[in-house]
């Protein structure tokens, strides 16, 4: 998986570093002073993640928990995200990380206890709120490599002590081995990003197929773990309504829809830089067959009526499948119109 693993000197004896390294006994490791002095210092081509992927293990410094953008998650409560990882093993063609970092290398910050302290602090700073949300996976996939990084037990015990805090673990993986060993907690939701089977195959390169994701979701649901769903990014395809009706049908067959915590919907969008990266990295992607416009916020999107129409259709299909109004929210888009 990795060609080389860099470890910050300061963290070389940290138990999580040692645990991580024990999974890669034959991979060369190199000690470095600080991740920031190497990672993102030069522009490393994105597609080198295929054959020259490196990992960095270290300590997150600076701001450990940040307020999430306004339209993030269910409205009404404060939302924050925390960063314990940069970049992802998968290769979704629309992934915004390809234009966000200047390197595809994976960075793992393993000082979770420090991050946890900050989470407690932020939570305490909202004495009047019933819920305070924390999202993992803003810059990575929360579960894909959780068996290597080993942080889940820590966050599960932390959130047990913070009843009004809510944690969202966001993923496209089906790697639930670690989660299965943990007792479900009401305030920890595992949310899965889904799209039609054909789109998963066409755009979400290297991710588990839709069926595998749904199976993992069912297993978690059966064990009592709260789950959420993101249908985001929605991409237009021929027979749009039929394909998404099939997706909801699959969900209905596999899951107890009434127990799904939320379903968020968002239409595909790119910053100009990310779109250029998509053109460079995936020149043959069917994404380039679409008619994009520069929208109100300078992002590259489908035209306004089309994206609204798509959201409306999917919402209606979701309601018809058995979700209720309260479960479905429109991500990022609702606020813009």
């Amino acid at each position: 998986m990795f060609k080389r693993i860099f470890v910050e000197k300061e963290m070389r004896d940290h138990p999580r570093v040692l645990q991580f390294l024990s999974s890669f006994p034959n991979i060369p490791t190199q000690e470095i002073e600080e991740i920031d002095k190497i990672f993102n210092r030069v522009k490393k081509p994105y597609l080198q993640k295929r054959d020259n992927l490196q990992a960095f293990l270290g300590r997150k410094r600076g701001s450990l928990v940040k307020p999430a953008p306004d339209a993030y998650g269910l409205s009404g409560s404060p939302h924050y995200y925390f960063i314990h990882s940069y970049n992802c093993l998968y290769e979704c063609q629309y992934c915004y990380l390809q234009g966000y970092f200047d390197s595809p290398d994976l960075v793992f910050f393993l000082n979770h206890e420090e991050i946890g302290e900050k989470i407690k602090e932020v939570c305490d700073s909202h004495p009047d709120q019933e819920e305070v949300w924390f999202h993992a996976g803003e810059f990575s996939d929360s579960l894909a490599l959780s068996h290597l990084t080993g942080e889940l037990p820590y966050y599960f015990s932390l959130f047990q002590t913070l009843p009004k805090a809510r944690l969202e673990l966001r993923t496209k993986s089906a790697n639930i081995k670690e989660l299965k060993a943990l007792s479900p907690q009401k305030n920890i939701t595992v949310s899965f990003s889904l799209s039609t089977a054909a789109q998963v195959k066409a755009f979400d390169l290297k991710t588990p197929p839709l069926k595998t994701r749904l199976k993992a979701m069912r297993e978690l649901q059966n064990l009592g773990h709260p789950i959420g769903i993101h249908i985001d990014p929605v991409i237009y395809e021929d027979d749009f309504e039929k394909k998404f009706a099939e997706l909801f049908q699959e969900m209905k067959t596999q899951l107890d829809l009434s127990a799904v915590h939320y379903v968020s919907l968002g239409v595909v969008r790119f910053t100009k830089d990310v779109y250029h990266q998509v053109q460079k990295n995936y020149p043959d992607s069917p994404l380039h067959g679409a008619d994009w416009v520069k929208s109100f916020d300078q992002k590259v999107r489908y035209s306004r009526p089309l994206r609204n129409w798509m959201l409306g259709k999917i919402k209606a299909l979701g309601l018809a499948a058995g979700f209720n109004e309260k479960q479905i929210y429109l991500c990022m888009e609702e606020m813009e119109n």
Partner: protein
């Protein structure tokens, strides 16, 4: 000054690296610069000297003199130091990514190993260790050559032979004992590389075969648009038969210019049927409300909720009529179309 026709410009830092090339080709001194030679096989040879500054100035000079040559590829050939243990001294590598010490920009070439160009010649073990985090190879010029090549929009490739490994006092040195052998290896690699076919850029095939047909007339912009649409057609996996059917349905009696315009419109409609229907619906929506005194235009990208309304006022009575007409504009329907609420 007249310049010989060149197709490849070979850049070496030192004469020793180029010795086998001087033997293999009949290079003649050029009046352009004392460190520049050309030969009848279309090759140029430049000794840049060591370091970034020299790489910039000398390559810049030569590319400036040859700026009118349509095809000129740059090859950097020479030694590189290994920053990682597993690389064998004397092994030859094509460079894949070129980084520069303390430089953010990198260059992507075609090859198998990455290289960083160092600012200083002698590397302390600490500096070597630090640079090794970026790339397994180190040299003194390539990043500079790539910068100039990019500015001049010329392709560049690099073949490096490993001269020394970490722990050596100096990097990228070429000693008398091995310079002959290494230069020969570089020559061999270069000749092999020159013989290998570079794959042609896949050009978009005019699957309808109409670009030069007298029944059609393409302006330059339309030609580009048509090629762009053909590419989209393929990306969307639409069939050739479908395109032939679309083209076949266009009235053959139409003038070539109109036929071409029609074809492009129909292709566009196929890409975005929903938007096409939306636009048509919006046109229809405003059609009955328009006349020579009242013109309504909406944003063709359908992004803006605003409407442009042009009014001509001739007199008080007509102005009242216009006011009534304005009030009856179907604005609610217009906005609900933009909200995606209208099924089309």
């Amino acid at each position: 000054m007249s310049t010989t026709e060149l197709s490849q410009l070979l850049c070496f830092a030192h004469r020793g690296e180029a010795s086998a090339f001087f033997k293999a080709y009949d290079f003649k001194a050029s009046a352009l610069h004392p460190d520049f030679w050309t030969c009848d096989q279309g090759l140029g040879l430049l000794l840049t000297g060591e370091g970034l500054g020299k790489a910039f100035s000398k390559l810049g000079l030569i590319l400036g003199a040859y700026h009118q040559q349509p095809r000129l590829e740059i090859f950097n050939l020479g030694v590189a130091g290994a920053l990682r243990e597993n690389l064998e001294v004397g092994s030859v590598h094509k460079v894949r990514t070129v980084y520069g010490e303390e430089e953010f920009h990198s260059f992507e070439l075609i090859g198998d190993l990455d290289l960083i160009t160092a600012k200083k010649r002698v590397l302390s073990p600490e500096q070597g260790h630090f640079l090794s985090a970026f790339a397994p190879l180190v040299d003194r010029e390539l990043w500079g050559l790539c910068s100039v090549a990019r500015e001049a929009k010329r392709p560049i490739a690099a073949i490096k032979i490993i001269s020394d490994r970490p722990g050596a006092d100096e990097i990228c040195t070429i000693t008398k004992e091995n310079s002959k052998e290494w230069s020969e290896k570089l020559l061999e690699a270069f000749q092999k590389e020159s013989q290998s076919e570079t794959p042609e850029e896949p050009s978009m095939i005019d699957i309808l075969g109409i670009l030069d047909h007298s029944a059609w007339h393409f302006t330059t912009t339309q030609k580009r648009q048509y090629e762009n649409y053909l590419q989209k057609w393929q990306l969307r996996d639409f069939s050739q038969t479908e395109l032939q059917n679309i083209a076949g349905e266009i009235d053959p009696k139409l003038k070539p210019k109109l036929r071409t315009q029609k074809l492009l419109t129909l292709m566009q409609e196929r890409f975005s049927p929903l938007e096409t229907r939306l636009r048509a619906n919006l046109e229809q929506l405003f059609e009955p409300h328009q006349n020579s005194d009242l013109q309504v235009r909406f944003d063709q990208s359908l992004e803006s909720q605003s409407l442009d309304v042009n009014l001509k006022i001739h007199g008080a009575k007509q102005f009242q009529e216009l006011q009534t007409a304005l009030q009856s504009l179907p604005l609610k329907n217009f906005w609900s179309v933009l909200q995606g609420e209208e099924d089309v």
